[in-house]
């Protein structure tokens, strides 16, 4: 009977109708009653699977939606501004951002090694989400008490939990619902998610401007007793984000765990193997001159981007506090432009990469990225900064897509995977030097000068790319 059920399942997967299966199996000599029972059993299993997929689609969607709102309300730019208000030092903000990036890489490395050995239970992913929510409450409270150690503790927990939440979640989603079985909203989450984040970023900015840092006194009468307290905008926005992340983690708990975790050796030996493999990968990738160049420029550009991104929000907040929509809303406005621009970038890049070639597009993207910090130095007005941000984001997407297309030509699939994993590890090294150093220079001289330096450094990657084009001018790359 089992073999009959398997046969029915196999034929269903290959797209045969129940009637066709029944006829074919009847010809093979199976009893009609057995065939009918196997077909109805299989149909029951199918409808059960569909029902489960519908429910899971629903909960995944809730989770994605809550997460996107949460990331908008507690945007990294807002976090940097709050840190600056506590620490009053660019160096601390820079160091914090560099260490955060380092911690993210270490955690991602650890999680990937762990996931190679064991399946992360759905409950644990949900718990990591809940922990991330609570860590935001710690960050908001630290801002209220002006406590730097508490703020850093909250952000360390947030970084660890967000990686432990994000990496296994992506794997869970792709393993549970195939792309073609996802609901329309879940399929298009990249677009809807950006729009949702943009709206919540704006709402977060408005809330923080409506209730300033010193707090807005609110007076109420509770059962005839006068009650007054202070409301802080960042506390409201971050607590809202925290609640959404907690709910999002809770939504995951409705997704049923499947199968048992397979044990394949110890985590320490896997980490050691991962390290060894990474070093071998670095050696393999750096043996090709062109890949080495892409790796070095990618790592330097990544570090410079981290440096300037750490301070864009702070600069906008301070320079335009009185003008436009208000301090935090101005920051939100500029970064909404960036989010919307990221929707356009891939299309522009793919359209032009065929016409102009990949290396020229890489050079173009890099130069567009350099425009943003240079505009902060030469023409720090809201309108110019908004335009420059737009160009910078489009440039960064163009450079990214061009790099991917270039790697498709230059390396095989395994080599490409190795390249990206090596880049994600290697970028940490210059980041740990460039970001705190740039931040220290901002403390000694000025932030504007750091933007100028970063812009010039980004633009100076161009001659390196030009050299490669000259070297390879015989083949169109």
């Amino acid at each position: 009977m089992k073999s009959l059920a398997d046969e029915v399942k196999k034929r269903k997967v290959s797209g045969e109708s129940s009637r066709e299966i029944s006829l074919a199996l009847g010809e093979q000599g199976f009893l009609q009653a057995d065939i009918s029972s196997a077909i109805s059993e299989s149909a029951g299993a199918d409808s059960e699977k569909r029902k489960r997929e519908r429910i899971e689609n629903h909960f995944f969607m809730i989770k994605e939606f809550y997460d996107r709102i949460g990331f908008g309300l507690a945007s990294q730019q807002f976090i940097n501004i709050l840190l600056m208000q506590i620490a009053s030092s660019y160096f601390i903000v820079g160091l914090f951002n560099a260490l955060k990036a380092f911690l993210e890489v270490v955690m991602a490395f650890f999680m990937n090694s762990y996931m190679r050995l064991r399946r992360v239970p759905v409950r644990s992913i949900g718990l990591a989400g809940i922990l991330f929510g609570f860590s935001l409450i710690i960050v908001a409270s630290a801002s209220m008490f002006k406590s730097l150690p508490l703020f850093l503790l909250g952000m360390a927990v947030a970084t660890i939990s967000v990686v432990s939440y994000g990496e296994p979640y992506q794997r869970l989603l792709s393993s549970r619902i195939k792309k073609e079985r996802r609901s329309y909203a879940l399929k298009k989450i990249a677009y809807f998610g950006i729009i949702t984040t943009a709206v919540s970023l704006f709402i977060g900015g408005r809330i923080m401007d409506a209730f300033p840092e010193s707090g807005e006194v609110v007076s109420l009468s509770l059962f005839g007793n006068p009650l007054s307290f202070r409301l802080y905008g960042y506390l409201i926005a971050f607590d809202m984000a925290a609640i959404l992340f907690i709910l999002s983690g809770y939504a995951l708990s409705f997704i049923r765990d499947q199968g048992q975790s397979d044990e394949h050796g110890g985590i320490l030996s896997e980490l050691g193997r991962g390290f060894k493999e990474s070093f071998e990968n670095i050696r393999a990738v750096t043996s090709k001159r062109i890949l080495l160049l892409l790796l070095v420029t990618g790592a330097v550009m990544g570090s410079l981007q981290t440096l300037v991104n750490s301070f864009y929000g702070i600069f906008i907040f301070r320079a335009f506090f009185r003008t436009g929509f208000g301090g935090f809303t101005n920051v939100a406005f500029i970064f909404i432009m960036a989010l919307l621009a990221s929707l356009l970038g891939p299309k522009i890049s793919k359209m032009n990469a065929d016409k102009y070639g990949k290396f020229p597009m890489l050079v173009f993207g890099t130069l567009l990225m350099a425009i943003t910090p240079l505009t902060y130095y030469y023409n720090p007005t809201m309108f110019a900064i908004a335009e420059a941000t737009l160009l910078g984001v489009i440039g960064s997407v163009i450079a990214g897509v061009a790099q991917n297309l270039l790697l498709i030509d230059l390396a095989g699939e395994r080599e490409r995977r190795v390249f990206f994993s090596t880049l994600s590890i290697l970028v940490v090294v210059p980041q740990l030097v460039i970001v705190p150093l740039g931040a220290y220079l901002a403390d000694i001289y000025s932030l504007s000068l750091v933007f100028l330096g970063a812009g010039i450094a980004m633009a100076s990657m161009t001659p390196l790319y030009l050299g490669v084009i000259v070297l390879h001018k015989k083949e169109k790359i």
Partner: protein
């Protein structure tokens, strides 16, 4: 590009990578130059918000916050809610200025503005202090200094030459 049966069609051969790069670099530089000058014509001789001002010549006017051992000389001393901000502004331009306008923004979005009218020659330093009420204005978020020049007998702020204090440490 070639003509075929009266129709203009594009040749499949693209431009060489080197020429494409040069073209794209030129395009990026043009875009950058445009963005970096965006709005500057409009803001010239204006108050920074597009409102036209009397024709004033701010060329050669520049100020800096005076630095000692690399530290900007803007400090605060507080006694309760009263804050005293002390600053040293250097006339780093080529012209004499008629003082500076200080703008202090508090986080309650209230703004304290005060003019310090005093002739400061080129390469000279102005040292002044400003009383700030933290209860009325909230915590200090930003401090800006705008050089003043004389136009038609009245002080005129050269907005484009304004500078912001990077930080506001407590006086030792």
């Amino acid at each position: 590009m070639v003509f075929k049966k009266g129709r203009l069609i594009f040749s499949k051969r693209g431009v060489s990578p080197l020429i494409a790069t040069v073209l794209l670099i030129a395009f990026a530089v043009a875009l950058g130059a445009m963005v970096m000058n965006l709005g500057s014509l409009y803001a010239d001789a204006g108050d920074g918000e597009g409102i036209q001002q009397p024709n004033a010549d701010c060329s050669g006017v520049a100020i800096n916050i005076y630095r000692i051992e690399g530290r900007e000389q803007v400090f605060y001393e507080s006694s309760g809610k009263d804050i005293r901000i002390t600053f040293m502004i250097e006339n780093s331009g080529l012209k004499q200025i008629r003082g500076v306008k200080a703008i202090v923004v508090g986080d309650s979005r209230n703004v304290l503005t005060k003019d310090f009218s005093q002739v400061v020659d080129a390469a000279s330093v102005l040292r002044e202090a400003l009383e700030y009420d933290a209860d009325a204005y909230g915590e200090i978020v930003d401090i800006k200094f705008i050089p003043l020049i004389e136009v038609a007998g009245t002080p005129f702020p050269c907005q484009k030459m304004a500078i912001n204090a990077e930080r506001l440490p407590q006086a030792n």
